[in-house]
Symmetry: D3
Subunit: 143 residues, 6 copies
Amino acid sequence: MSHGGDTGKPAEESDAVAGFTAYRKRMNERILAEPNQVVRRFFALDTQTYQAGALDLKTKELLGLVASMVLRCDDCISYHVAQCKDAGVNREEMFEAFSVGLVVGGSIVIPHMRRAVAFLDELEGQSSTGASAGAAIQPHQHG
Amino acid sequence: MSHGGDTGKPAEESDAVAGFTAYRKRMNERILAEPNQVVRRFFALDTQTYQAGALDLKTKELLGLVASMVLRCDDCISYHVAQCKDAGVNREEMFEAFSVGLVVGGSIVIPHMRRAVAFLDELEGQSSTGASAGAAIQPHQHG
Amino acid sequence: MSHGGDTGKPAEESDAVAGFTAYRKRMNERILAEPNQVVRRFFALDTQTYQAGALDLKTKELLGLVASMVLRCDDCISYHVAQCKDAGVNREEMFEAFSVGLVVGGSIVIPHMRRAVAFLDELEGQSSTGASAGAAIQPHQHG
Amino acid sequence: MSHGGDTGKPAEESDAVAGFTAYRKRMNERILAEPNQVVRRFFALDTQTYQAGALDLKTKELLGLVASMVLRCDDCISYHVAQCKDAGVNREEMFEAFSVGLVVGGSIVIPHMRRAVAFLDELEGQSSTGASAGAAIQPHQHG
Amino acid sequence: MSHGGDTGKPAEESDAVAGFTAYRKRMNERILAEPNQVVRRFFALDTQTYQAGALDLKTKELLGLVASMVLRCDDCISYHVAQCKDAGVNREEMFEAFSVGLVVGGSIVIPHMRRAVAFLDELEGQSSTGASAGAAIQPHQHG
Amino acid sequence: MSHGGDTGKPAEESDAVAGFTAYRKRMNERILAEPNQVVRRFFALDTQTYQAGALDLKTKELLGLVASMVLRCDDCISYHVAQCKDAGVNREEMFEAFSVGLVVGGSIVIPHMRRAVAFLDELEGQSSTGASAGAAIQPHQHG
């Protein structure tokens, strides 16, 4: 989720998105500071998983996104939405990925899709949530 | 989320419940504004699913409630609790549905049941949560 | 699942259904023979859960069926399909319950729905599976 | 499990794979013969979901595959492995998709990955399972 | 949720932890006040489950913790983290239990592990989350 | 799972258990023969996870067992039941671990518990399933 030189913070990086990112970073550091080799190796393996190989980065991030949707993890979805956007996935493609997650996972996925769209809107700098934008993506702040 | 002076607002429709409903409505509109036919058809199908047929509305909403409980989706549970109440499910019946969800899904369902009861209490106009009522059902606002 | 006096075995109780029932019974006895009070109490509570109360038996079995579908447990589905049938749920109602499970749980439920219908067909004495009927519901034999 | 004299059957379409396909087809017909509109529409929507759009067919099938892996449904995995192969996914790409499913879903995915590889081997005409090949992919026959 | 001057409150019992505990207690009382025998018996059975027997208390709480992690329930994780700490599980053992949950359950467990560590840090009186500590463990308040 | 000197195959290592073990071994070799580094590293990490550390081997295997139960994976359960037995877990302890899995995961776990007990019985050389013992644990053969 390195957005390059964001001097002054660009419009598409809202406070809510930044808060989500900061919490992730802080707690990941906390976890990796612990001398548990299995945990550390898992985190390294997780990073390696999404590197381009036979499948390109964009495809792999889309796979991560849909896996996160059907398993219904808001933080994972937010993370992969951001990664997909960085990898060049446009809004129409994002919604097609959402549609696969929705049909495979069922209506139980809908609340997570609502939050995914709110997060995507924040990333794209178009608040979908009016005055209470911060509250809308509040769940993402936690992790 | 301020519970202060809600002029004219009926007791059983708290600000928290209203916030939950408003967020759902706003984001659903956002999603349906997107030109993705699979997503739109899924939402239409979801609505159709709970219409009275061989099984009546009340039974179908109870099915939706228990399915949501065992899959542990707070927003889905809140939604179906409200729909069940509208369909005439009383508190004793609601708890029997909860009990099926609890026994099938196990103790992992308990935190969701706590929030379901807090939401039901809000709907019924009897705050179960004292001064910090808003905080208690805060998760429901998000989706 | 007591079908009354099955002299000569009625058409609707196929060998496959009987095998499923026998395996469940044998292993439940094995489990309850163990001096573990938590397990025994859980089994007793499970039985109590589906007794008629504020909600009638038929509704409760339908709740158990849909919960089993969205959690995708073939044996639980088979059990509740049989219980529903005994409680007077007809085929049209059964399919409406299936439809709720399908929409809430998504396409991942479909393979379980195929086996549920195969099991229901066996119960109703109309083999849906041609010559290899036994193989078709074979998964249910195991538990 | 032998389906009789299959003269002319290509090597990569084993009896086991054919049995799986036949059971799916037969039970799907059985389900769609039922006058339940929600179920029928869901099946139609499920088909529509994987049609090429902003994302191509190959990507969508890979999404379906990984979603099926993390939700751990053998039949869904087998189905999407076959669809992926038809869409031109090669073995190396298939394993990269498996690796995403494995890391996101954890070691609980491993038994399903074993069966996925056995099924892929059958599709590719290289039995991975020695003399008892039929038994190895037996679960896939059921649905 | 302000961490400021907590007069008399021990360092390891932060306001956030206390809020979580209070909400659990209040809603459990609310639930048990309802005349539903299945629910009441389930709660009693849940308590009985973790009593020392052939396995000691510490082992049982660790089992509850890992089960909660792979099922990804933040409140259940927080509860068992606290119970484990009370039963004498030290930080290194806690992380080994986390590592089992992580490897079995996959990367989807990571956000829950972040919150588990934040909660553990609060319990141990070492805020891992800087100025916005309250926000960091906010989810735990709800259940 | 080496049970020592099995002259002519000891009673506690039935054909079904051996078949399960052989299938696992064969397919794992097949998977590890593939040049996918993420998959290989995951398998290595999975092995490392259960090595004695701050927690002993027995405790870790019990954690793996309960995690497998609540996630309802028969093959994983069978594997950890065998590993637990090798690590010295006796039948009473095994049932206490089962009871935690049952209460956390709910009645949906019961069919898996039936198969776990059947597998344990096979391991202990006391067939719980009469004449059709092979059929009873047949699911375990597949993976």
